[in-house]
Subunit: 190 residues, 2 copies
DNA sequence: TTAATTAATGAATATCTATTCATTAATTTT
DNA sequence: AAAATTAATGAATAGATATTCATTAATTAA
């Protein structure tokens, strides 16, 4: 039993991400994926049943990696402010390090591949943020506003920062990122 | 010379928006557009040369409408705070009233149809916001931060609010919208 | 070392969808 | 009212792309 090559699988993922970033789902062709990955068209079908399968598997994989990145070194017992900064930086880093992934996830949300239960499932990833913000409210450090609104404020700003960065409209260096953190915090602090 | 029916043109636009909101560009078929608009497939080609043409014409039309909405009743000579609130509410309203348009524009930005010069062209729509924020900095009402960052903070939050609203994850009634404004202002105020 | 098994290939096929066009219907002009 | 013009139709066509599969190459087991 000859083994499948994990490098090829990863190459397919990478190629897909690259192409989706460049032209979106609309222009994604299996033959292009294969070419970009440096393999034959048919080989993609050794690893994935169909285009739909590829996209969904990749989606789940990205979510998994994202969650790991997201909670790296997070300790819910630390003081609130430490937790907040940690989560914020993790979130930014997760998005910044993998802008292709961010673009893919964005596309997935507006595609025929999306299944509602999957969306709900993966939205749970934000739960730690919800918990943290509610703790912040209890400790009277954060405004008494619907937690959803607070999350929207934070994730919206980060997402937009990454988009502008990718467009080349802004260069998101550490200085900029820290300033963005300051803005974000001033927004929700009591 | 029989005249073309402006209702049909509008119906095609509407159908396209509806379908793109539901499943994105990926699943957009000319035959579906026609069916949704209640006309024959071929009729779409009476009004548009091609699918590409349809998408680009719709894009330009939406941008035009958006810009009108955006600047409605705006008077740059009013006191800063009045201007800020006006612009903010206009921006929210433009996005909220036409969530389908917002979804379409989002998709367009990640599609093979996008042309870089078009993106740059239409990004100019944000110029009034840039101007206003720079005035705010001069008047010492707004933080001395790169204007881009301030814009990112504002537009990111609004965009995310609309997305959550569309997903049904939050009900953006006037109360919520005002709270969001409060958060946004606290973020950038000095 | 040979046989067996499975990955890899890519041209051929099947499927799907944009576009065309011969025909019909509606409107306008004469 | 008849002729002329153009919109509207939708089945047929052209073109594009997902998927298959007969064949080859590589790896593993015997």
């Amino acid at each position: 039993m000859r083994e499948k090559d994990p490098n090829k699988l990863e190459a397919i993922f990478k190629a897909t991400l690259k192409l989706v970033l460049r032209e979106g789902f609309t222009a994604l062709k299996m033959s292009d994926v294969a070419k970009e990955a440096g393999i034959a068209t048919g080989t993609v079908y050794v690893y994935f049943e169909s285009k739909e399968d590829l996209i969904n598997q990749l989606y789940l994989e990205l979510k998994k990696r994202n969650a790991e990145e997201f909670l790296k070194g997070y300790n819910a017992k630390a003081p609130f402010m430490a937790c907040f900064e940690k989560v914020w930086h993790n979130y930014v880093r997760a998005q910044m390090q993998e802008p292709e992934a961010a673009a893919f996830l964005e596309q997935y949300y507006r595609s025929p591949y999306l299944q509602e239960h999957v969306r709900k499932e993966t939205d749970k990833m934000l739960q730690p943020v919800f918990d943290l913000l509610e703790r912040g409210k209890e400790e009277r450090l954060v405004k008494d506003m619907p937690t959803e609104l607070l999350v929207i404020q934070l994730s919206g700003a980060i997402g937009e920062l990454v988009r502008w960065h990718m467009n080349g409209q802004i260069k998101a260096n550490p200085t900029i990122i820290n300033k963005a953190l300051e803005l974000a915090w001033d927004s929700i602090k009591r």
